[in-house]
Amino acid sequence: MTDEGPRSIAPADGTAADTQGIKIVGFLCNWCSYGGADTAGVCRFKQPTDLRVVRIPCTGRMDPLFIAKSLIYGVDGVLVSGCHPRDCHYAVGNFYARRRMEAFKAFLPFMGIDTRRFKYTWVSASEGQQWQKVVTEFSEQIHELGPNPGVRRQTGENSKVSTGLR
């Protein structure tokens, strides 16, 4: 069962995304971008359906390892969005986040992971239209890239170990 992904991002059996094949995880800050996504929904802006949203209190909570884990286990794209710089609900959370994500973005390709699968952006609660634009563009980009093969699961050496698995 080594082909399992982490629990939190695994699709439930037979959901829509399975048939479409593309999974994007969105980490949205509670105060701005989650509201922005909500606004987009309330306004009935048409949005792609590939996105699974994880609400975080602030982008300052955003551990780059969330992104690493998602991409390693084969999530097709990761979108992080929070309050605009200088508009953070907690004043400075997104300033910290920006540095981390910049560094992480530069680091990902070194490990062989396509950095185009990760995007971070700022969307406020009132910017429903902006949200629609961001999501649509990112989703299109991921569709263009196709499914993320993730990191190879079969290890060269252990692939034939009789691990007790059938």
């Binding site: 080594t2 690493a68 920006r98 981390r100 560094a103 680091f107 390709p109 070194f110 062989g112």
Partner: protein
Amino acid sequence: MLETDRNQLHKLVEEALPELDMVIGWGQSTDSFQTTPVFVRDAKQISQLTLGPFCSQNLTGYLVKPPALDAAPKEGAKPIGICVKGCDSRSLVALIQEKFLTRERVRIFGIPCRGTVDWNKVGKLVDLSNVKSATVEEDVLVVDDSQTTHRIKLEEVLARKCYGCRYPNPLIQDVTIGEPATPRSTSIESSYRDVDRLDAKPLEERLDFWQSELDRCIRCYACRNACPLCVCQDKCIIESREPRWLTQRVGIPEKFLFHFIHAMHLAGRCTGCGECERACPMDIPVTLIKEKLNKIMEERLGYSAGLDVEAVPPLLTFNPGDTEI
């Protein structure tokens, strides 16, 4: 020259020892070439201390790790003496920066370093299984494997980190032993040659490279435990069940994530001492991962860890004026 330096070290330690709790340095291990950390508490042990290109271990981790030798120093506890090379001194600075210890807690015996030997590399040239003796004559390593005497240029068998070393001389110290060394590198460009080489390859090749390298990882955590700045130690999220970042499985994704966790937790903190790579029993270039992050920190944020005790690591702070790509 080594002999003089060693004598000087012995003399300085002997003078200082009464005021110190102990002195952490390098001594001969049970085989004839590698060194092992020694903890000198008694004047009788001083003769064990050695220095030179075989002293590869970074000893600063012993100052802070649980179970630290003196985890919570009592009021009025004597300082601990420690021998550091240039790169080790950066770890020490970083630890002081992050307030894991104060400058007064340590008496630093600074040792200018001309590079340390990577025995894996020597092993490619000489059969190390039955070495009788190994010595250094100026810039030549002389290995006697009980059949032949091999003479190898030191420059060919140094640890990978040494070739891009900009700080061979300790940055903080109380006393210096021997003459200052000349840096092998003086610029970012010449410090990250291995990173650049890998970066020059196409994305798929890089993924392949890491997949096959990390496939060998046995998750023994030697790299983590050897790292002087992996200060969480027994509380590491890699082993925690709640939250559960990693399962016990040994697929490549798990190994990838483990090394991501290790690297990201060191981003902007790693001083590039190369302990992780040296400790790896499976010969995985784990330091290379951190080198890339160090390069990013240096290029984008103008920061190198372990140079200034007053500086704040860049990911623990921010600047409203930071720009995006």
